[in-house]
């Protein structure tokens, strides 16, 4: 593989990896505050994809939109993905997890509820939107924006990396610099003490879900733009992003980003060197190897307690 080939592959990997990173944050935030593996997060992601399709179909893009039109459609899609993702995540916490917390249900029950909610949501989507893939309405001509060291970067690739970067920085600021962020960190560290200090745990948990849902929804929209939207689209990216969160150290926001990018890049190089059929073999071999030597993940655990 020549140097310019490697650069091409690296770009592919970073694009995919930045999507994984955004989804992984949803897993890691919720794990941080509830020690819950929210497997239904992959369906929040899926909902974001459908949100984009619905909004763009309603506002029916002009044929071959360009310029300002394109910008408006992209923003509309991002907003719709975020809203639907946030709403589903909010509803999920309210309807599925909060009653369990009230009753102090065992961890296992949370996990089974998460899996059940995931099945419920994607089958519901299949029923509502049909069990076949849907193309994201065209928002722009996906041409090359610029060429970087011989690798052409397309509009979609730039959009994905750009949007991911903005969201990752925003989440980092929210968690580390805002009142909600100190709430999240306080609940993650010790919910009882946090409650005694006047933190409204229910509110913090609910907002954490919404924050993760907004990100997951936008990721779903971006993923759907790059591929297509389907009721089962959440499964593989969801599992991979969960693995990315664990790889980076679950509960740790920056770890999730690092894990996501790393998995994306490893996948891309696996595909290049062997083939697409080996994609997950390569990626998950790296996961197992890393966890063997660093069981708490690359950046350990900073936000939550030890798993």
């Amino acid at each position: 593989m020549s140097l310019s080939d490697s650069w091409d592959v690296l770009v592919l990997g970073l694009v995919l990896g930045s999507l994984y990173a955004v989804i992984a944050i949803g897993y890691t935030l919720v794990y941080g505050v509830l020690q819950l593996l929210n497997f239904a997060h992959s369906e929040v992601f899926m909902a974001g994809g459908f949100g984009g399709v619905i909004a763009l179909t309603i506002f029916e893009p002009a044929v071959d939109p360009s310029g300002m039109q394109s910008v408006v459609y992209v923003l509309l899609g991002i907003a719709a993905g975020a809203v639907l993702g946030g709403v589903i995540a909010f509803g999920l916490e309210k309807a599925a997890y909060r009653p369990l917390r009230r009753r102090n249900a065992p961890r296992l029950v949370f996990l089974i509820t998460a899996i059940g909610a995931s099945f419920f949501l994607y089958n519901l989507a299949g029923k509502l939107f049909g069990r076949y893939p849907i193309a994201m309405p065209s928002m722009y001509e996906n041409k090359t924006v610029f060429t970087l060291f011989g690798t052409s970067v397309s509009v979609t690739q730039l959009l994905i990396v750009g949007a991911a970067l903005v969201m990752l920085v925003a989440v980092d600021v929210i968690v580390n610099r805002t009142k909600l962020g100190s709430g999240i960190r306080a609940v993650a560290q010790d919910p009882e003490v946090a409650a005694l200090m006047g933190v409204d745990i229910d509110k913090v948990v609910s907002r954490t879900f919404v924050l993760g849902g907004l990100l997951g929804g936008v990721a779903g929209f971006l993923f759907g733009t790059n591929l297509q939207v389907e009721y089962t689209m959440g499964f593989l990216p969801g599992i991979t992003a969960f693995a990315a969160a664990v790889l980076g150290g679950i509960g740790n926001v920056r770890g999730a980003v690092l894990g996501g990018l790393l998995l994306g890049v490893v996948e891309a190089f696996t595909v290049e060197i062997w083939s697409d059929a080996w994609r997950y073999v390569g990626a998950f071999a790296v996961l197992v190897l890393v966890l063997m030597f660093r069981p708490t993940g690359l950046l350990g655990e900073r936000v939550g307690r030890t798993a």
């Binding site: 592919l12 995919l16 076949y132 397309s154 993923f223 297509q228 891309a268 697409d276 994609r279």
Partner: protein, 406 residues
Amino acid sequence: MDVVRCRHGWARSRGFFLVLNKSIVRLAIPVAAGALLLTACGSDDDGDGGGGTTYKIAFQGPLSGQNVALGENMENGIELAISEANSSGDFDFTIEYLAADDQGAEGQATAAAQSAIDDQDVMAVVGPAFSGPTFVAAPLYGQAGLATVSSSATNPTITEEGFPTFLRAVPNDNAQGGAMARYLAAQDGVDSVMVIDDVTPYGEGLADVAMEELEAAGLQAQRESVPADTVDYGGAARTVTSSGVDALIYAGYYEALAPFATRLAESGFDGIGISGDGSNDDEFINLAGGAAEGWFLTCPCTDASAEDATQDFADRYQEEMGEAPGTYSAESYDVTNMIIQAIADLNGDVNRQSVYEALAGGEYEGLTKTFSFTDTGEFENESIFLYQVEEGVRGYVGNIDELIGG
């Protein structure tokens, strides 16, 4: 016999029934059709509309459920053949139609097959329409000694099972792989080809045969596998473009080909793209948009409206059914006529065994292709038809072997 009046009556009653409850319609259509054939047509006086003994031809396929559209395409072709035979006056027997609905599902296949087997007047079955139900129903038909001729079950392994009375009146999936390879080999400037399968039994079987034929034709062939649920086609598109191949064979379904074709177009792939009947669907164009442009698609099914040989059939079909022939309509029409001809050739010595032997050993010149079978019941010819997406429409190109003059 007043064929026109009879057909209009049938069409009207069908349209009327369509507004009723769906399940009633399912029962009512065959009943109404049968009744019309027997009374309205049969009692007509200006011709001897058949007569003598009555034989039945059954159809096993999806007449309800998710894939009902495909089943109705075929049922219409069969009913057209039967009504034409009965009204032609060429035969000293009458053919009746029996619907055996299997919903295209394995679970319903046993009951459907049994309903055809239990009716002693049934001399042959058209179908099963799908490969899955065929694996279930074919052994039952075998035990009953009832010939079953499928014009659409294309899974290659069916004929390896040794079902005693199963005949396949369509080239199997693998034949498409060979046809694609032969087509590419005949094109100027195609020296290297990449074959990509989607890691399903359908895709792998097709790709294996394509590889063999490409190598036999002396072309450079490379093989790749891209699972249909891959999260990003960027890597696969890179593999294709950076390999510099002149053509790409994609062995898989349109759901996956659509995003793949989009990535390929963006990465500047300008070679020939060709895929099989798994992708031969208008939904491919809806999903891939402009990226579908130029893609070749193959199918064992012909476009009855576009071929000279079937043009006349398409007109009659349109007149009677009120719609253009669909996928496998013409093939089902052919198979039904083949069965009727076999019965006629037996000159009264008609039983299930003799009908099967006549079909298995005979050769029949149909509208769509010539039918004859190997010892395992496999279709002997390899007629594969080519389509191409042009200006957003799936256009019919022709029979591949005729196109390359082979």
